[in-house]
């Protein structure tokens, strides 16, 4: 009974909840608790799926082999997919970052262009800014970005990138990417991953607002978008999140009460599969 409930809960949390949460636009105004809620939902889905087999153990006493077998199959399948996806995504990311770091370290000196802050400057006209996360992290700017951004907007960009590095947003993104790829195709929701990406950007934007204010941060977005537009139309362009981020900069942050409710929701969601597992053994 509880094993079946847990399997259903896993399906609900992996397939239905992300689609609903991706539509809660007001979540974006409090990106930190929103990301905690997203992590809670995905973690609860994993717990529910992995707990199906342990929850079916009591059936063995009444020779309920079939129930236990099915629950064990669900658990093993989910575990296998998680491990495989974690391995694939992790290896791919590490290889891509290592290669990129090698190139950046050869092409861009840390002190080029009179910058003493360890920021790497690539000799390229397209304005862009990004960071390479990891143990030996790098913030990378192009000469095009230095030329296009006034000093105050540059500060906003750097604050945004440093927030990514400081908060280890790469791990958060890797976690959600691994889960995304481990969920079977019909259940998986691309809009969930897109929303999580947007929340991570909104979180880094909060850091930029703290150093530079919302208007300067918004102008920096505009400056780089203008410079990248010809390039972006050639390659695969962004996923339309830039305008959403800009609109967020226009809105006031939500009240602490709303954040508290979101944290409570996160806690309750994780408690749900754990409670079911506990009940199954009682």
């Amino acid at each position: 009974m509880f094993a079946v409930l847990l399997a259903l809960l896993a399906l609900l949390l992996a397939g239905v909840a992300p689609r609903l949460m991706a539509r809660l636009v007001w979540f974006r105004r409090a990106p930190r608790p929103a990301l905690v809620a997203w992590q809670a939902v995905s973690l609860a889905a994993v717990i529910a799926a992995l707990a199906a087999a342990p929850a079916a153990v009591p059936y063995l006493r009444e020779r309920g082999w079939l129930v236990f077998g099915m629950a064990a199959a669900v658990t093993l399948l989910v575990l296998g997919r998680l491990l495989l996806s974690g391995h694939r995504v992790g290896t791919g990311l590490r290889a891509a970052r290592a290669r990129h770091r090698e190139l950046v370290d050869i092409l861009a000196a840390p002190d080029d262009g009179g910058r003493a802050d360890g920021i790497r400057v690539l000799a390229h006209a397209t304005p862009t800014a990004y960071c390479l996360p990891g143990r030996r992290s790098r913030v990378v700017l192009t000469q095009g970005a230095l030329a296009a951004l006034p000093a105050d907007e540059l500060d906003a960009v750097i604050a945004h990138e440093r927030a990514h590095l400081r908060g280890r947003h790469d791990l958060l993104l890797e976690y959600f990417t691994v889960l995304h790829h481990s969920v079977p195709d019909p259940v998986r929701s691309p809009e969930a991953l897109r929303e999580v990406r947007l929340l991570i950007e909104a979180l880094a934007d909060r850091a930029a607002i703290r150093t530079s204010g919302p208007v300067t941060t918004a102008r920096a977005l505009m400056t780089l978008a203008r410079g990248q537009a010809p390039e972006a139309s050639l390659a695969a362009a962004g996923d339309g999140t830039t305008a959403a981020r800009m609109r967020l900069l226009a809105s006031e942050p939500v009240s602490p009460l709303v954040s508290a409710v979101m944290y409570l929701y996160a806690g309750a969601v994780v408690a749900l599969p754990l409670t079911l597992l506990w009940l199954s053994w009682r």
């Binding site: 990138e161 890797e174 990417t177 919302p214 390659a235 962004g238 830039t242 226009a250």
Partner: protein, 131 residues
């Protein structure tokens, strides 16, 4: 014997050696030997022959230089021009979709020309309400 160079110093050396190979590529189409690289580097660096060999070996492993046998020694050539490597880096950074979006964390995830009008409207909203 000089002490083995530390990791950051090796990074500096790798960059200096690449610069040297790039700037000499026109004069030495057949590549440079370890000895030639050692002599081309500033004397105040006080480098050992084996250090330069290690650096060139690391660069070859990274695929940034190629090497060819020349008698008992190796000759090293840059695997690409500075411009082509920069272009590769930019392609990896701005290039197609999902992979780079997870590998690197961007300030801006690209914008199409059509998106720009939408962005402009949103910017003036920010300026009005938060300015």
């Amino acid at each position: 014997m000089p002490p083995p160079p530390s990791a950051p110093r090796l990074g500096d050396l790798e960059r200096a050696v690449m610069e040297l190979l790039w700037s000499g590529a026109a004069d030495r189409p057949q590549g440079a030997s370890v000895r030639e690289v050692l002599e081309g580097l500033p004397a105040d660096r006080d480098l050992a022959y084996t250090t330069v060999m290690t650096v060139l070996d690391r660069l070859a492993k990274k695929g940034l230089v190629t090497r060819e046998r020349d008698g008992r020694a190796w000759r090293y050539t840059p695997a690409g021009t500075r411009e082509s490597l920069t272009a590769e880096t930019m392609r990896a950074s701005l290039g197609d979709a999902t992979d780079r979006r997870t590998a690197l964390l961007h300030f801006l995830d690209g914008a199409t020309p059509e998106e720009l009008d939408d962005l402009r409207a949103a910017l003036s909203e920010v300026e009005q309400r938060r300015g």
